[in-house]
Symmetry: C2
Subunit: 219 residues, 2 copies
């Protein structure tokens, strides 16, 4: 039985599994999902019992192919909703994530396929994340790097942003910093890891918190 809660756990595990820099530990998941560590251990047992993850106490957990399939499906629903809400229903860039977070758990396959079709089978959501296809495959997309890891004085294009914090999205909106904007890192300050980027002939200072949630691509 895949409940809203279980779908969110699977999504979170998928998320950590697809990072090179971090893994799906109990603490990470607890932090990500805003629940206690105990809740994670608890759920790990349940998800393991129903064959959606493998789990060895104190060792860690991993999605089974069945679990990954569900995770990708939820992510598909989320990202299609985000794009639909923005393009068709004109919700704000900073609003669509939270709205999709709800809708993703209450959308039939028939409906999501119609949304997919309506949008002409898009590859990316409004935050630049790839949208899993009906068959579960992700569209191909070029390698990206974190803006926080970008080199000085090279030309990049802003292609993706983590959207879990709507305040960050509002912040970027106010700066006019939308996807596909070109930028160059002009300075990096080691004391607080903030950076100065040049966009559209303007210099803008971005905190570490901001730059490590933005992804860029070398032009």
């Amino acid at each position: 039985m895949s409940t809203t809660s279980k779908e969110n756990y699977l999504k979170a595990i998928y998320n950590y599994q697809s990072l090179e820099s971090d893994t799906a530990t109990t603490s990470n998941l607890a932090n990500y999902l805003n629940v206690s560590n105990a809740a994670i251990s608890d759920m790990a047992k349940k998800l393991s019992d129903i064959g959606l993850i493998t789990y060895e106490k104190y060792k860690g957990m991993e999605l089974t192919s069945k679990g990954e399939k569900i995770a990708l499906n939820v992510i598909r629903r989320h990202r299609l909703w985000e794009l639909f809400l923005m393009k068709v229903l004109e919700l704000k860039w900073s609003e669509v994530h939270d709205e999709a977070e709800q809708l993703e758990h209450h959308t039939s396959e028939a409906l999501i396929d119609q949304i997919d079709k309506f949008l002409n089978f898009p590859d990316f959501d409004p935050h630049g994340h790839p949208i899993p296809k009906k068959n579960g495959l992700l569209p191909k997309y070029p390698k990206t790097l974190l803006l926080s890891n970008a080199e000085l004085n090279r030309n990049y294009v802003f292609v993706r942003v983590n959207d879990r914090e709507s305040e960050l999205i509002s912040f970027l909106t106010n700066l006019g910093l939308i996807l596909n904007t070109n930028l160059t890192v002009k300075e990096k300050f080691s004391f607080d890891e903030s950076i100065v980027v040049r966009i559209n002939d303007r210099n803008i200072s971005l905190s570490k918190k901001v730059s490590e949630n933005m992804y860029v691509q070398l032009i």
Copy 2:
């Protein structure tokens, strides 16, 4: 705290309150919501505690104005979603009710207002039910009667259908019996309360079960 379950109870109570023929009794609600009578009593206490209904043991319950406001809001979300799903996303007449039943509990006010606007503030859903406005008022609509109560050989137009059973909607679809179809009752059989109606020069037999879920209006 208005949960999915509470919203469904409020909707059910509202539904029975707006019938002349029946009332919001424990048994009726239990039957409508597919739960035990005990569950109704249980929830009645809770809804009463948070001020959404008045409730006197063994006497019955009634929505407070606060409860009615929530009920109408859920109904608004339901009916707007139904119309949107059908008109924009091309879901079938028989599918939209069940889908809306889920979405209605997970839709922000900002989103539902955008849907309302997108549809140009419609008055009726695809099953002929009036859509509560943002201010909570229902659009005016003419008196209707149950097809099962219609008189012989008079001209009616089919204007509304109860949509809780998707099988009924599929059945009508297959007959080509859509809203705004003109019809005349040609015969009534007392032994099973079935009727014969004439639509588009065709005679069709409808069971009691069907005719008492269809609403018509005299032309």
